[in-house]
Every structure is written in C-alpha cells, then in structure tokens.
Amino acid sequence: MRGGASPAPADRGDARRAGLAMLMNDKVQSTGRVEPVAPASRRRFLKDAAGVAGGAGLLALGAGMYAKQASALPATAIRPPGALPEDAFLAACVRCGLCVRDCPYKTLKLAEFGDGVATGTPYFEARDIPCEMCEDIPCVVACPTGALDRALVDITKAKMGLAVLIDQENCLNFLGLRCDVCYRVCPVIDQAITLERMHNPRSDRHAMLLPTVHSEHCTGCGKCEKACVLPGEAAIKVLPIKLAQGSKAEHYLRGWEEKEAAGKSLIGDQVELPVRGLEGKAYGDTRVEPGQGPVQAPAQVPDYVPAKPAGGGLDSGWKP
C-alpha cells in the first residue's frame, strides 16, 4: 500500500487523484516519516494542535475550578459597602485596589493569594477594623467598574452584612449586666440595635436589657463586633446576610400585619362559647386557682425491688 501511496506527491497535476491518494495515505500510513508530504504534515499539525489545545484547556480548566472552589467567602470577610451580590461581584471586580486606596480608615484590604478570599478582591474583617460608614462613601466613588454599585448614595442603606448576637452564654447583657457597648457604638443606635427589657429569671427581681439587632436598619458596618468587650472573639458578629438570615416564609400570612393593613380582622370576630365551670372568668382565661379543679391523690409508687431470677441455683431455697 505504501508503494501505491508514494507517487501521490508527484501526481500534483490531478488534484482529485492527489486528494484520493491523500485520503488513502491518511488511512494507511501510520506516520509521515517517508517524506514530509502534505497529508502527513497536516496530520502532524492536527495532532500538535489537539495536544496544545488540550494542554491549554486543562490549564484554563484548572484555573476555573480553583476559582470556583475558592469563591466561597469566609464568614468573617465582609465586602465593602455597595458591593454587588458575590457572584456578580466576582465578574465585575478587576482587583485594582482603588477602593482600598480611598478608604480613609484603612478598613479595606486586598485579599492576598492564600487568604481564602478571591485573590486581589477587597474585603474587611470587622473585629480587626470595622467600616466607619463615611457619608460620601469614597470606596464606592473610587470603583471604576461598578463592582461597588454607585446607586448606593446613603451609607445607612448599605447592606455589607448583618450583626448577630451569636453567643448568648457569654454576652454580658445576657448575664444580667449593663455592658451595652455594642448598642452604644452602633451608628444607627436605637434602630439597628435596641435594648429589649426582659425579666431576669435567675434573680427573679431584676431586668435584662438584651441587645437586639434589626435587619431592616443594620448596615453590617461591624462597629459592634469591634467594640464587644469580650477578650477574644466577640459575642456579636457581623455575618454575610445569607448566613445570618433565614428566608422569609412567604406562604404564611402574618395575621397581625394583615389585620393592620385591612383595618380590621380578616376572619371577623370569633364566636365566644361559654365553658362549663369557667363561667365567671374572662374569655380564654383558663387558669386554675388553688382549691379548684380535680384533687389528685398523691401517687402510690411502690419501692423499687430488683427482680430476682426465678428458681435454680444454690440459693433457690428448693428442698426435697
């Protein structure tokens, strides 16, 4: 077959025959080492191109997979104000650091390779340096790409994250003390964090004033987390909103909200039926006063005696 194929280069006049021979060459000859004829060189080209493309594809795929795997943001890494949702942010941020340069408090930093945050993207850690919520939001103004959205002009509308009082066991206010530091430092005091008065069941005579975050007003600046007086980790932490909040249960109507919106109860007044034995009481009051109600005799519980194995053995007491 090789002999039949070799005249092909000499047969240049007849393009069709040459093409046919080339076809046969492709099928029969394993390599083009006899002569650097066109089919062999084309085959080599295709083979080389496939190898090169495959190698380049693998390299790019590796980069893509690494990027995908590393795109989960650590919970303590907070994006600057106005940052697009993380997916869109990673398409928009060119990692130039202009937001970092224009941050007057050195809050923002660019992630270094190995930080766990997408390499070169800006973030801050609230326990380290929180966002001071500048009124002119210089970081957003500096961003040339729109990764930080200029639609944000009022810093109190920012949603960098959400503060969560995450450790109720060590929070001093939950212990009954009046620390209040997170509440005091909050730039949106009395809206983003309020102190809610509760009965202190431990002493039974004091109040607890519990710092309570309201997601509607919290910007996620992290000043509460920074100020928390606990020595190491803070009891209140700013978390990404996705971690801090559950989804809203859209399919449940809140009766009290519907009632307020409609101006009246949607299901009308409930029918009040008398309850036997509770005639003198307000509707719904089912409390039982001492002396009333059924009297229960103290339960007679026999002393516990371990069960004995039945019969057999040396001490069975069996006599002939």
Binding site: S41, G55, A60, G64, V94, G114, P144
Partner: protein, 311 residues
C-alpha cells in the same frame, strides 16, 4: 497540495524554524553581545536594555511612591489605575474578561481600557510585555541565568499554546461568570503583590522563574502567557517595528537569536525567508530592542512599519 498552500498565502510559515530556534535555545552563545561591546562600547551595547529597565522600574516606582512615601501620583495597579486623580487606565485584557463574564463596567473602566487599547494598537501590543510588565524582569533573569549556567534543552510547549489559553480563559470566564483567570494570573498577581502585599503569590512568581530556568526556556512569556497573547493580537497592525535594515552586514554570529525572547520572528526579516523587506512584522516580537543592542554589526534598528528601506 502546494498550490493550495500557496493560495493560503503563507507557505513560508509552514516551515518550522527549528534550526535557528533550536540553536538559540541550546544556548550556543553563553554571553551574547560580547562582540557588540567591543565594537560599540558597553553603554551603546546596552542602550535599549537600560531604557527598558528604566521604563519597567519607573512605572513600578510610580505605583510604589504612593504607598511607600505618600506621594499619590498613581493609585491602583496595572489592572486599573487613576493617575493624578484624572487619568483612568484599565487593562483591556481585564475588560474583555469582564464582558465575557457578563458584566458591563462603568464609563471610567471603558474609557481607561480604550486609552490603553489605542496606545498599544498604535505603537505595538507587546510593548506591554517588554516595557511595562513586571514579570518580564523575572523571566529575563531566568533566561540570563540559563545562558550563564549553560543549561541546555528543555521541554517547551508550542508557541500557540498561549492563544489557545487566551481563548479558554474567555470561555472559562463566560462559563463561571467570574474573572476566573485573575485568581491565578501571575502577571496581575505579581504587580498587585508588589504594591498591596503578596501572601503566597511569591510561590507563583517563583514557579515561573524556575519553570523558565529549569524546564522551558522562555516558557512563560514566549509560550504560555495568555495576556501576552492578547497584547500580541492588539499589535498586529502597530507602527513601531524592528528592522534588520543592514542585514547585508550580518556575520551569522547568532547573538540576536540567543537573546531574543521570540527567536522565530527574526529569520523572515534577517534572512529574507518568505518576505523581501527587512521588517520584523510578526506580532510576537516584543520590540524589546535587545537584538539592536547585541549586534556588533548594527544590523537592527527600531523604526516604523512604513520604513522598508535597506541600508
């Protein structure tokens, strides 16, 4: 078959320039330019190299005097920057990735990318590689050390790998909806690292140095870097070119092949393979001017693409 190749217009490119390339890569000349130093003096034999280093380090210094000394002439990094508070400059390679990932940037970024794009389209795309990019310092150092140590051979990927990689970088950006390449891009990472801090990025830069030194001569800049491939595409019609104008004086010393980061671009101009004018029009040429320096016979000069004269 040959007729078909001829109709394709570029039969000469089918001939692999293995002989010259291989000679250069095998490190035939350990200290290229010795003859030029004798003929022209040290300073003239290093003129373009010194200018180029001044450009690379000067641009780096402009970015560094801000964070180091508080003189904010330029803010940002090569990915995007703001000069004197008015001039935005953005890497078009990043904007293209952004567009592939599905994000339309603000006007500043587009304007900045437009300015950079216009500059490189006009003057030569790979001027970025040889006159601006900080990775060039690393790979030049590796190439220099390789020549000095007399390291021979190596396994070099095909020069077209970078173009495939460029294509895949854009595909991956579109597929993941993120600037995936920027997670690992050694070019932007090195520059950003110098200005904002490295973390573990030293590993990647060191990897490129040792890859170029021990495995593939001129492996990164000459074969793999998709950013260089992008700028090469930009520079296809650019004006500033190297010309082997006095090629008749060539004494085949091979010094230019030894120093050239893309030795395959020299032969068509110097030896008239497939072209009759002495201009190096190949877009892979970085216009570094090193061939001008090391030639003792002053064969090369930097000129425009319109100057096809020989002297």
């Amino acid at each position: 078959m040959s007729a078909r190749l001829g109709a394709g217009g570029v039969p000469e490119r089918k001939v692999p320039p293995t002989s010259v390339r291989g000679a250069a890569m095998r490190g035939v000349v350990a200290r290229p330019g010795r003859e030029a130093v004798e003929a022209k003096g040290w300073l003239r034999a290093h003129k373009w190299l010194l200018l180029r280093r001044a450009s690379q380090l000067g641009i780096l210094a402009l970015f560094l005097v801000g964070p180091w000394l508080g003189w904010w002439i330029v803010k940002g990094n090569l990915s995007s920057s703001l000069t004197l508070g008015v001039l935005p400059l953005t890497d078009p390679f990043l904007v293209v990735q952004q567009l592939a990932a599905g994000h339309w940037p603000y006007r500043e970024a587009l304007l900045g990318a437009g300015i950079v794009l216009a500059f490189y389209l006009l003057f030569g795309g790979r001027l970025f590689c040889s006159w601006v990019c900080p990775v060039n310092l690393v790979t030049d150092a590796a190439a220099w050390l390789r020549r000095r140590l007399g390291l021979k051979g190596g396994k070099v990927p095909s020069g077209s790998t970078r173009y495939w990689l460029l294509g895949f970088v854009l595909v991956i950006a579109a597929a993941t909806g993120s600037l995936a390449w920027e997670w690992v891009n050694p070019v932007s990472m090195f520059h950003r690292g110098l200005i904002f801090g490295f973390g573990l990025a030293w590993g990647i830069v060191g990897g490129i140095f040792f890859y170029d030194l021990l495995i593939a001569p001129r492996g990164w800049c000459g074969h793999l870097c998709p950013q260089g491939a992008f700028y090469a595409l930009l520079g296809r019609a650019a004006v500033v070119k190297v010309s082997a104008a006095k090629r008749s004086a060539c004494n085949d010393c091979m010094d230019c092949f030894a120093v050239c980061p893309e030795p395959q671009v020299i032969r068509p101009a110097l030896k008239g393979v497939g072209q009759d004018h002495p201009l190096i029009l190949d877009a892979d040429c970085t216009t570094c001017g090193r061939c001008v320096d090391v030639c003792g016979k002053d064969v090369f000069r930097i000129t425009t693409r319109f100057n096809r004269s020989e002297s």
